[in-house]
Amino acid sequence: MAQVSIRDLEKAYGVTKVMHGVSFDVADGEFVALVGPSGCGKSTLLRMIAGLEDISSGTVSIAGRVVNEVEPKERDIAMVFQNYALYPHMTVRENMGFSLKLRGGAKADIAKSVGVAAEVLGLTPYLERMPKQLSGGQRQRVAMGRAIVRQPAVFLFDEPLSNLDAALRVQMRAEIRALHERLGSTSIFVTHDQVEAMTMADRIVVMRAGRLEQAGAPLDLYDHPENAFVAGFIGSPAMNLLLGQAGGGQVKLSDALTLPLESAASGAVLYGIRPEHLELVPIGTSGSITATANVVESTGTAMFVGCNSGELTVHALFSDRPQIKRGDAIGLRPKPGLSHLFSAETQQRIG
């Protein structure tokens, strides 16, 4: 087991710089999710940790040892690939035992380790099958089995759930997390799905365009996003971010709409309020937004309402099934103490 340290990591392809000094730590036994939109460099970062991608500058350390120049196989890591990368001409047993065989393990030991891993993953009946005879979820498990069978110090997951259907994804999410608890290993999990990151990780590292935007516990990121990007990326449906002019304890969002502000900030700001932090109030209530509902979607557990207030678009989420129909005028009031304020210029949190 090991901690992983990333220091000032940079990556350039020729003159094109794609990563601009990323630093963070993963504690021993921690489950960290790397999350961000596609092209943000999260997969590249993972591949640099794995040793599949050269490091332009900065260091990657695993268990206190700088591994920049260490071959992937010497890093004591295992990786689960997005497309699973199972060896198609080998049985499940051979796939899972391949790494042990390469290390010259005794046949009996390999069979035992594979047997244990297969038992954990429920793959015992499929050990003699070829990958093509398995379903997507089973292949996913084989890929995991191949990783756990040799008990590496660090597990790397590169969007392993993105090829599964929705129901299976939720199930595998729990399974991977349970496996992590059981093995107590250090895990780094790359995903573009913030729900996966929120539900699985001890800590989330949000990246954008080769930069680290914020790292922290899932609920910290949700409650205290440090900038407008994280605010908009974490949480579903996404936070309302409204451009406005702050001053004198108020924020003016449009000519007709001014909301009270708990902050003394002034100037151009982004006013953020999560859809679930808007409450339904009678039209005209002070400090409320009057809006017309034009999208009403109910999932049973929650009701999502998209509405317009003049030029502004505001999304709200209710869990108590209010009687709202398309075209209704409604009053929405931000719950006190739950709004966020970001500088419109720097996008950084100011209150």
Binding site: K73, F81, K132, R146
Partner: protein
Amino acid sequence: MTRTTKRFLNNAALSLGAAVLLLWSLGPIYWSLVASLTPPNALISDNLHLWPLAPTWAHYAKLFGATSTSQGNEVQSVWPQFSKALANSIITALAATLVTVAIAAVGAWAFVRLKFPGRDALFIAVVATLAVPGFTVLIPLYRLMIAAGLIDTYTGVTLIYVSAFLPLALWLMRSVYQAMPLSLEEAAWIDGASKFYTLLRIVLPLAGPGLVACAILTFLSAWGQFMIPLVFSPSLATKPLTVLIPEFVTRNYVDYGLMNAAGIVAILPPILLVLFLNRFLVQGLMAGASK
């Protein structure tokens, strides 16, 4: 026109096209077979038959047999020459195939997966040699082979074949490797395999159909070569069937029957090889690698 008649006409047109193609490719072979079974005097008669009136194994007997008689004269057996040339054909074609496939299997992988300066330029240069007509390099090549003492040797002929057929094989294998997911190799590296071991145990088994296609192409090309051995294989030491069979034309007699019998026999090894290798051209071997 109803759908049924339309479909019938479509099918009829398709069948007709297939029939023309079949006739085009199998017709000469059939004619060769008929000629090899027709008695010598019937071969030069005015009215030819689609199937000989009195089929005879005489030409084959002459080919495989000891001495024979032709027009009343005793003729030396051609079997020693024929068998030597058959062996030469098989040896040079097999050697060229093995060397070409082995180099293409490793070289094409390097062209796809290894990063070195001038990689793509080098590859284009290699493939561009396909555009150079063989006969333009014949004379310089001949001088080169004399200097190297490789005229009329298996090594010499094999080297020329490899240089001629390798670019196509490299090209083919390169596209096979390009279609293969890199993550398979990366998974093997992380599992602890060296790059060469990965090539051997992961990449090559999956590239099987491509390798077989390369082998078939190269073998057939080498088997059918005429001009190269005509120049570089002057004696029976390395002379293949393609050069020997036309020599059955003598000053005052063309032994069509014997030539065709030899031709029919010469068709057999490539057919057997293709049938044998065809079993390895299994499709869908890659299924299940990913997703």
